[in-house]
Every structure is written in C-alpha cells, then in structure tokens.
Symmetry: C2
Subunit: 295 residues, 2 copies
C-alpha cells in the first residue's frame, strides 16, 4: 500500500472513538445472554487489525493528558479516582491489557494489583478484605487483574465455600461497589470473553514455545475442562452484578488488538466524562515568584 493509502487509513482509525461509544456497544443490560456473543466481533469499531493498532497508539496522548489531570486533582484534595476491573478466563488477554493499555499510562498514576489464589491470611478474613487493601487512592487509576468476582466464579465452580455463602456475595459486592462510587470512584468492570476454541489455540502455543512454557500451568487445562460451568457462573455474575450504576462491559476478545483498543476506549470514555481540570494554585503566585527569585 502506498503512502497515501496509509495516511487515509490513519485518518479513519483516529475516528475509532466517534460513532457509537464503546461503552454503549459493550454495556451489559437486562436480559444479556453471554452465550450469544460472537467473540470475534469488533463492536463500535469498523477497522481491521492495522487500523486498530494505529487507533490504540493515536489515543495515547489524550489518555496521558486525562490521567495527569486526574492525578493533579488528587494531589489538590480531590476525591475522584478510577477502578478498572478486568476479568476473563485463562489466556483471555488480561496480561496483554496490563502491558499494552495500562502500561501506556504513567506508572506513578496507576495502582495495579493482580489477585492470585488467596493466601492463608487472606482466607482467614472476609473475601473483600484483600480487595479493600488494594483500592486506589484519590487521583489514582486502580487496576485489578482478577478481583472480588473470583469469589463468585472460581469459588462457585469449584465449590470452595458452601453455595449459601457465595450466593450471599452478590449483594455484598453490589453494596461494596455502591460505596466505592459514593467515595468518588469511577468503576469500570470488564469481562474479556474468548471462545473455547481460541483458548485451546492460545494454550497450545504456550506448549509449543520454550519462551512460553513459564506461562503454562497444568491447572489451566483442569479449569478448561470446567468451561461450561464457568460460563454459567459468568452469566450469573452479569445477571446479578450489572446494575445501571455499575454495569459490566463484555469485550469480545478473540482478537487481541480489538480487546486492547476496547478497554483503552472504555477507560478514555469514562475519564472524559469525569470533567477533570487543572487545580487552581493554592498559593500566591507573585509571592512565590519573588521567593524563588531571592532563593
């Protein structure tokens, strides 16, 4: 393709965020059926992979600027903050989101927590204990790689606690999230959804490449064998924990480039809606200029 064509493509891809917002295209409302999702689709974006990669890079500057304003507001006593929750099956691309979307943001403004199987100490506390400890402070973008939702997903599928106990957690989670929102948190909850076939290919790649062995765990196949149960558990999460005030967004994730773009755009759309501004000076500018000149 010639230079002109390339330029034309770039122009199209920077308009990725116009048209239907990603939030509207991906939001989970009443009656949502996860099983109906075509995980190769690219809602709210009509470009191809190369357009998507361009669009991701093109939005970096705006994301940087909004994040810095958020951080600045936080240092000046503001209470606004963001919590981005990323859920998904093994190999759904959570790591890629962390690396390519979260990784493009100034690390000083990000609090990233990857939740693993709980430790003994964590198990000795209510399930939200470790979650509360990891919540972002004012001005920060908190990112959860897995989250409190594991306590109604892996826990439910594997009967790790009695059903009566984990079933109570849906309302506990809804109350907890409302509390976060009241404290100034903009909550963005995402499920990266891949097909079982796509997961099979991604796991196979890990077994084919010596530089990927470390990412493979025999337990991944054990969990894969419970695929259908996980889908039921995810559907229940979407049924019970996607109120209009704290909705889930389900991102079709068989195409990695699309999933990254979609999460970035969800983050951008939410940051834009936060009306972030540079804080006023809380000192006398002329006095300080004088002090500096004399120092």
């Amino acid at each position: 393709m010639g230079k002109k064509g390339k330029k034309g493509k770039k122009k199209k891809s920077t308009s990725a965020a116009s048209g239907t917002p990603f939030s509207d295209a991906l939001r989970v409302g009443e009656g949502y059926v996860l099983a109906d999702l075509d995980t190769r689709r690219t809602p709210a974006f009509d470009g191809d992979k190369s357009d998507g990669v361009d669009a991701l890079l093109a939005a970096d500057g705006e994301l940087d600027g909004l994040q810095e304003r958020l951080y600045a507001e936080g240092t000046a006593g503001g209470s606004k903050r963001v919590l981005l929750v990323i859920q998904g099956m093994d190999t759904a691309g959570k790591g890629g989101i962390m690396r390519h979307v979260v990784g493009s943001v100034d690390p000083q403004g990000v609090d990233l927590t990857a939740f693993k199987a709980p430790t003994e100490e964590e198990l000795a506390h209510p399930f939200l204990w470790r979650i509360r400890k990891a919540l972002p402070g004012p001005g920060k973008i908190g990112v959860f790689d897995r989250s409190h939702y594991e306590d109604v997903l892996v826990v439910a599928v594997n009967d790790l606690v009695p059903p009566a106990q984990w079933k109570r957690r849906f309302s506990t989670i809804n109350d907890f999230e409302q509390e976060l929102i009241e404290d100034g948190t903009t909550l963005i909850k995402v499920v990266l959804q891949i097909s079982k076939e796509e997961q099979g290919e991604r796991l196979a790649e890990r077994l084919d490449r010596p530089d990927k062995y470390w990412k493979y765990n025999p337990g991944d196949v054990t969990e894969r064998e419970k695929w259908a149960d996980y889908q039921v558990a995810y559907q229940e999460v979407l049924d019970k924990c996607s109120p209009a005030s704290a909705p889930f967004y389900v991102v079709p994730a068989d195409r990695k480039w699309y999933a990254r773009l979609a999460v970035q755009q969800l983050l951008l759309e939410h940051l834009r809606a936060m009306d972030l501004t540079w804080p006023e000076a809380d000192f006398d500018i002329e006095v300080e200029k004088e002090r500096l000149a004399n120092s």
Copy 2:
C-alpha cells in the same frame, strides 16, 4: 537533514550502549567529589538530544525481553530481583524517570513506590520499616522514588532526629543493603544531580504554567534555600554508602533526555549481567499436549 543523514544518526545512537558502559562512567568510587560534577555533561554518550531520544526508544525491546525473563524466572522459583533507587533534589527529574524509563517496562513486572514524608505510623517504627514493606519480590523490578536515603538527607539537613541517631544509619543502611544483595537483589542506586540554576528554571516554569501549578509547593523553595546543606549531606551519603558491592551512580541531570537514557542503560547493563534465562518446563510437555487436545 535528508533521509540518509537521519539513518546515519540512528545507527550511531543505537550504539550508545557500546564503548564505555554507563556503569563505569557514572559509578561513585573512593574520593568522589560531587561538587566537581558538571551537571550538563553526558558521560558514556557522545550524541545530542535527538540521538539520545532515539537511543532510549531503540533499547525498549531489549529491556522488555530481559524484564520478561526476570519475571519468568521469578514465577519458576528463582530469587533474582532488581531494586532501582532514585534520589535527587526537587525537580531533578525523578518523575520523568518513572514516566519514561520505568513506564516503558511491563507494569506487571514493576513495583513502584514513591516515598513521601513519613506518616505517624511510619515514624513510630524504625526508619527501614516502611522500606522493607516495599521491597520487590522475586522476579520483580522494584523502583524507589526517594528511599531510605531521605533518612540521612532531609532528616540531617532539617535536624529531624538527633545527629547521633541519623549518623548511625549509614552503617545500618550498608548492612541492610548487603542483606538485600545476599537475598538475590541486584541493587542500582542513582542520584540525579542538577545544578542550582537548573532547579531555579524548573521551579520558575511551574509558576508560569497553570497546568504545572499543582506540581509546585512553597516548601520547595524553603528546601532550595538549604541547597548547600543538601550538597554536604549528599556528599556524606556518597562517602559512606557507596561500597564496591553497592555503589551509587551519579547521573548529571540538567539534560532530561540524558538522565533518562543513562538510567535506562544502567538498568539494562545490570539486567544483562544477571544471566537471565527462560525457565525449563516443570511439567511433561507431551502429556500436557495430550490433555489439552482432549479437553
């Protein structure tokens, strides 16, 4: 400049890491005199700003690859880890290092801690208490924006504890750092050194731009007025806490592009020396391929 010239420049800049290693050019040995440093120099690099910016970008891929190997070793039970300590006067460019050098690394592999004035709880504990809590785990790159060295810098200059107490800390720190090294930590200690004039200009910029007011604090000028005392305190740190096994590197930092490149190259040179390799599979590959195929 034409295309050919540009290409020529690029070639030169990617060789930034050849010739004298940055570690050798910046390492603090016996008899080092901080006051003799020309903070506009660019040791181990003979290019200009544009070369330096190119060289920084050019090294991204290698840094990524080494970091991923380090992380992989950590997941496989290795004990190696990195701790990058960044010290410097206000406006020396610590934030820029976090954003442009640390920010280029996969955030999943980085533990970044910015140490502020200690809280009441922290003050009620020995000075290394909060430091120990922030140490990186195996496979991680820990980054300290300020560190335990503040406890012999700002503390000494402002008489925050009796001299007999902070003077004891030099040997406490040396012992602590030896312990880290024995535990598998590659320690990289950096001072970003700017001139007083350069600091004056950077503070003035914060007072000139409404989008920078939030970075300004009247206390910055109060500390600036103690510039000479801080230089004495830094010299004492370099005299007492730069043994051959845990040396400081002083980076001339009046040129932001150089400081970023130098810290990146220090990190790279240390990672290269760690002999990082992809872990062997700790499972039977053929068995797992079979399990996966049947799942």
